[in-house]
């Protein structure tokens, strides 16, 4: 099975997502620049370049905060999953906003450096041995480099070329970037004690991101603590024809249990192509279609239809009273399994 690369795989959901995101960015900048200068301690006269730099810097900080909240929110509550699936566009936009902040800073504070703005930025403050007056710009440069790497490797090609494990580890850089942004703000603008509103916003944002991640990690830890064996999937009334229930296993992997023609079958939730969420795909003629790129699998065998050769692991199911249970040990990819009739549940 093959899907030729194109620049962006647009669909109506992505258009709506991007429209909402761009509208939000525009609204934030407009409010920051024109509505609330007093609340942001801009009552003292500052020029347009500094005002713009602060607006774009604040916008990038808020966007990165939202991005980092989406992941744990989706793990805590599946209703946030639609926000997760187009997050890469959000990330690229955040990088663009951060670059704009950077260009305003260079264009104002270092515009007349004899050897260029970048050189001026690097030599302006080199007091790395002290906390008060620490060159907070270094944190900003590091965060911007992280965002550039993340944005530059956001195309589907990179996920396949680098492989999901390497790509995922590379994208852990977002955590380092956010911590660096906190350092950039904490040792930079927060040193101005007049602005307690900003201090509260930054501390609140960091607490929100950290708290959500710790809550999601705690939930994952609780789910993984069960060990291997039979695990509950759901009761008969919870299944809908042609749809799946997704179960998290102690290993961290997910299983999608589908109801098809009154019979239940379970396969791995991760598509063999790029780990797309099969459990959220539709079933057409016994084949579940991955919502990301359209790869298809027979839910009873975990195999793509001939002549394609992709396979995913299958899982054993059993009835325990009115509850369907799945065994946490996966069958080898492509192993046919006997479906469990829904009528077997009592």
């Amino acid at each position: 099975m093959s899907v030729k690369y194109i620049p962006v795989q647009w669909n109506p959901n992505k258009w709506a997502y991007n429209a909402a995101m761009l509208g939000g960015v525009g609204a934030f900048l407009w409010i920051f620049l024109y509505i609330t200068p007093e609340a942001l301690s801009h009552e003292r006269p500052i020029n347009a370049q500094i005002h713009n730099a602060r607006a774009f810097g604040a916008c990038a900080f808020v966007m990165l905060t939202v991005i980092l909240c989406i992941g744990p929110l989706a793990r805590l509550d599946p209703r946030f999953l639609p926000l997760l699936y187009n997050r890469r566009h959000f990330g690229v936009m955040t990088c663009v906003v951060a670059l704009t902040h950077f260009s305003y800073i260079l264009g104002w504070y270092f515009a007349f450096s004899s050897q260029g703005g970048l050189y001026g930025l690097l030599i302006a403050n080199t007091s790395y041995g002290q906390i008060a007056g620490f060159p907070f710009e270094a944190f900003g440069i590091f965060a911007l480099l992280c965002l550039l790497v993340l944005a530059a490797t956001s195309h589907d090609f990179w996920l396949k070329f680098l492989t999901p494990p390497v790509w995922k580890r590379l994208h852990y850089l977002v955590y380092a970037a956010y911590a660096a942004v906190i350092g950039h703000v904490s040792l930079g603008i927060l040193q101005d004690q007049q602005n307690h509103v900003l201090t509260a916003i930054v501390i609140g944002s960091a607490a929100l991101v950290g708290g959500l991640h710790l809550a999601a990690a705690w939930k994952d830890r609780a789910a993984r603590a069960g060990g291997s064996g039979w695990m509950p999937v759901g009761t008969a009334s919870e299944f809908a024809e042609g749809r799946a229930i997704i179960t998290r296993l102690p290993s961290g992997d997910r299983v999608a249990t589908f109801l098809l023609d009154g019979q239940l079958s379970a396969i791995a939730n991760a598509c063999a192509h790029q780990n797309g969420p099969l459990g959220e795909g539709r079933i057409v003629d016994c084949l579940v279609t991955c919502p990301w790129h359209g790869f298809q699998y027979d839910v009873r065998t975990g195999r793509s239809p001939a002549p394609f050769t992709e396979t995913v692991p299958t899982y054993r199911l059993r009835a325990n009273g009115n509850t369907v249970e799945v065994h946490s040990d996966a069958n080898p990819p492509g192993t046919p399994t006997k479906p469990l009739p829904l009528g077997a549940l009592t």
């Binding site: 093959s2 899907v3 030729k4 690369y5 194109i6 620049p7 050897q115 970048l118 050189y119 690097l122 030599i123 080199t126 906390i131 008060a132 944190f139 790497v149 944005a151 530059a152 490797t153 195309h155 090609f157 990179w158 396949k160 070329f161 680098l162 492989t163 999901p164 494990p165 390497v166 995922k168 580890r169 852990y172 955590y175 380092a176 956010y178 911590a179 906190i182 350092g183 904490s186 040792l187 927060l190 040193q191 004690q193 007049q194 501390i203 960091a206 991101v209 950290g210 991640h213 710790l214 999601a216 990690a217 994952d220 830890r221 961290g252 992997d253 991760a270 063999a272 192509h273 780990n275």
Partner: protein, 122 residues
């Protein structure tokens, strides 16, 4: 050459090597390592920034695929184990940086009345 000049020169060399790798990889190598890229050209300019930044990783992956050093099944194994550790490290770093930043703040002298400074000779 001072440290700043060294960093900028190193970055320039890095990007020029990346540009050379991007030229060769996008014109020739990508068709060898990914069947989905064969006949697809419009998306390739989008890969240039990533190759400029990560060209050593690109060369390594290209080599690994050419010599089939990457087992097929391992490529599709989801990674979740390190997620909590990464989140905890981020939380610790944020708490440390905020604490250091707030501790280093100096009191604003708002309790001192401003004094008009006279000019020379006054």
């Amino acid at each position: 050459m001072d440290n700043a000049q060294f960093l900028l020169t190193a970055a320039t060399v890095w990007l020029w090597i990346g540009a050379a790798v991007a030229l060769v990889f996008l014109a020739w190598g990508i068709d060898r390592v990914d069947e989905d890229a064969r006949g697809a050209y419009v998306f390739r300019p989008l890969l240039i920034p990533g190759i400029l930044l990560l060209w050593p990783l690109v060369l390594y992956r290209w080599w690994a695929i050419e010599v089939e050093a990457a087992p097929w099944l391992a490529r599709y194994r989801p990674v979740r184990g390190a997620h909590p550790a990464a989140a905890m490290l981020m939380c610790a770093a944020m708490a440390l940086l905020l604490a250091v930043g707030l501790t280093a703040r100096q009191p604003w002298p708002d309790h001192i009345e401003p004094v008009q400074i006279g000019g020379p000779g006054q």
